[in-house]
Symmetry: C2
Subunit: 246 residues, 2 copies
């Protein structure tokens, strides 16, 4: 019998240096809204997304002629083509395009995880496809929650808990990590009525204040797509998940 | 009506710099075992405890004639008088003494919080006394979980959740912090049978491997004492909680 692989959950990009496991898959999680938006963009045919950290880099990319998504504290930047709402990334606007992307929390998370064996973008939108992929890799997995300004957040934790639950149910994974157990227990509490539980999430209130909370339900919809964005060199592209490769 | 004060929970000393609130009370939480041991030492009449970060400082203090508590990964250091078990700090050994103390996680947590308005030592052992004190201070409060090697741990989180629950019930506190809400939900799940829930905690297994898990039940016993250790300059001493001061 195959040895079980390990699941860990990291609650903030600042904590990631404590999770030393270069052979692991890192799954970046920023449910409200960066990773949900990125998955949507790939479902709608974007060619590449280039994550950058600073707004200065994003602005410079715009001047070089790139399409740019740039958001801080939920708000689209004046020089940018897109903010952080998945609804911005329609097929008409993104198909075949290369987009430079900078967000409050999400792109920092991608950056700190870049040395892992695989860096994948996770969302409810590609849940089952991502879960199936991970099960087939026979590697440890670390869910890296983007959080909020380096702090813990609930919505990313719930996703990690849901995924951990499913991976353990597959029989190929186990965990000795307190963060993972906490995530699973929180998801267990929330899952009976996820939308009701999300009422308590601080980010929902932040989005509501800016009239940006129209995305909550969409960002918590399972399996809208099979696409899995993966980091290659310095950009994200769609993983080839044809049966041959799995 | 008095404005409600805010509760936050910080899951790791590494994250504490993101909680900027110098007017707040910081409560250091390292249930297994540093803060439980420190509270026990004060209940048993220790005069002062001097937290130091490194083992080198601890060893140098021993050479200067101090009594020294020094532990890493659960194990007492060879030059030290004490490890990290609350059962070490008996009245016979500690009454009237000054003890230099260095642990894997706890003393680092005290260090990063040192600029807060008050730095208090929290444990189940002084739960109600600490809760009463905090309610009377009319300040925000941050529970700083020592965690395990800069990572999240469950046992400190459960304590923070129990305390947050009680503070909100007092009517004087509220929270908008996802960490606090998660802590409360986890404690809500665990509290029906705390000892059973603790079976899943990684630190329990670490202690068990070293035959040090005899302290689990004691460290989760409410209200053994009213004493509250407080940081003054560079040492911990017992807070004067006489009714006049409250």
């Amino acid at each position: 019998m195959q040895e079980k692989k390990n699941i860990e959950v990291c609650f903030s990009p600042v904590l990631f240096s404590n999770f030393r496991n270069p052979g692991a898959i890192a799954v970046i999680v920023d449910i409200l809204r960066a990773t949900s938006a990125i998955v949507t963009a790939f479902e709608n045919g974007v060619d590449k997304i280039i994550p950058v950290g600073s707004l200065e880099e994003a602005r410079a990319s715009k001047e070089k002629g790139y399409m740019v998504a740039a958001e801080r504290d939920g708000l689209v930047q004046d020089f940018a083509d897109f903010g952080n709402s998945p609804f911005n990334f329609t097929r008409e606007r993104v198909a075949g395009q290369q987009i430079v992307y900078s967000t409050t929390n999400g792109t920092q998370a991608i950056h700190v995880a870049r040395d892992c064996a695989q860096v994948l973008i996770g969302a409810y939108l590609n849940f089952t496809s991502l879960k199936d992929w991970i099960v087939n890799q026979q590697r440890d997995v670390i869910f890296l929650c983007a959080g909020w300004k380096n702090k813990f957040n609930l919505e990313d934790t719930l996703f990690a808990g849901a995924m951990a639950e499913n991976l353990i149910t597959s029989g190929a994974f186990e965990t000795i990590c307190d963060s993972t157990k906490a995530s699973m227990d929180l998801y267990g509490q929330a899952s009976a009525d996820l939308m009701k539980y999300l009422d308590k999430v601080a980010q929902r209130e932040r989005l509501r204040r800016n009239k940006l909370d129209d995305v909550i339900e969409y960002c918590h919809t399972f399996d809208v797509t099979r696409v899995i964005p993966v980091l290659r060199n310095n950009h994200l592209e769609a993983l080839d998940i044809s049966p041959g490769e799995v």
